[in-house]
């Protein structure tokens, strides 16, 4: 009897706790992942049209957060048709061999009200590198918007190999900007 009570109490507690741990959902139509590369000083903007995220995040308990990302590399747009045709080739994204880029968080730290540093592993073109991504959250109604920007070095991931290694032609720094709209995130 006693055991039964404890079990039901635990089950009840788990049941109550469950909503806080529930996965948050990405709203793709209101989300954006963009990048800017510089070619001979000329900023050229690109976008990934298809991506998905698995987010388990409670703003009150950031250390338990798990954030995973996958980006469909083939969905990239960048400037003209000529550059897009180039992008899928082995020297650039090698889309056939590496169709996806992924991000997996390791630690999430609160850095201020609605502000977090998300550290994790970014894998592009089979190369894995640690990144720390500053994220700012804003809430409106049921939606939470996570936005931020960070810089990656394209050569760390062998993006633009071969003839394109010359960083005076295409800068090594690539600015990545994102705005992700999630539903189901607890109040800040």
């Amino acid at each position: 009897m006693k055991t039964y009570l404890i079990v039901s109490a635990l089950a009840l507690a788990a049941g109550f706790a469950a909503p806080a741990c529930a996965q948050q959902k990405l709203v793709p139509a209101q989300s954006e992942i963009a990048f800017t590369s510089k070619q001979m000083g000329v900023p050229v903007d690109g976008k990934f049209k298809k991506f998905d995220a698995q987010v388990a995040f409670d703003p009150k308990k950031p250390d338990t957060a798990k954030i995973a990302f996958s980006i469909d590399i083939g969905s990239a747009t960048l400037g003209s048709a000529e550059t897009e045709a180039e992008l899928v080739k082995p020297d650039w994204f090698n889309t056939k061999l590496f169709p996806q880029a992924t991000f997996q968080s390791s630690t999430v730290k609160a850095t201020g009200p609605g502000k977090f540093d998300v550290a994790g592993k970014l894998v592009i073109k089979g190369a894995s590198h640690d990144v720390v991504v500053p994220v700012a959250l804003a809430q409106a109604g049921a939606n939470t918007t996570a936005s931020g920007a960070f810089v990656i070095k394209r050569l760390d991931f062998k993006i633009g190999d071969g003839d394109w290694k010359d960083t005076s032609m295409v800068a090594n720094d690539v600015q990545v900007k994102f705005k992700l709209t999630l539903t189901g995130v607890g109040a800040l």
């Binding site: 070619q39 001979m40 000083g41 000329v42 900023p43 050229v44 903007d45 960048l78 400037g79 003209s80 048709a81 000529e82 550059t83 045709a85 180039e86 003839d163 394109w164 010359d166 032609m169 295409v170």
Partner: protein
Amino acid sequence: MNTSPTDRYTAVAIAFHWLLAVAIVCSFCVGLYMSDLSMSPTRLKLFNWHKWAGMTIFALSALRLLWRLTHRPPADVPMPEWQRRAAHAAHIALYVLFFGVPLAGWAYSSAAGFPVVVYGLIPLPDFVPVDKGLAEGLKTLHQLLAFTLAFVVVAHVGAALKHQFLDRDGLLLRMWPRKSAETAS
């Protein structure tokens, strides 16, 4: 300096003429060559150089136009009225195209999502939105204007050569750079 302005173009006008002649011919040839290249660092370099050259031509042409409007060119040499008119029409067309070709190229670049950054240092504003359909149209316009310019340049050079070698009226000397010693005399 030249003491009889109706005799020869001014030294500044002559310098503008030949400097821009070389720049325009080179940019046209680079433009022709680069558009058929497949994507490579060379193509990217040539495209940027072409854009820098184009914007430089645009800026120098503005200065040249100012000079032209404030300095009277030499009087026409005797020639049939239709030729005189054709020559003036060609000069006006050249000036229009000095601005039209680079402007269309600049707009094309902006519409294609590659803003112009002159010498990799001076970002120019985009006065048209990024739009693939618009970019295609502007590309055609840029090409059309560039070929029109090439056509008028050929007519201009042909007419100058006719004056020099058939009419032998010395018209070309008005635009020919003279050694400073000769200019001084």
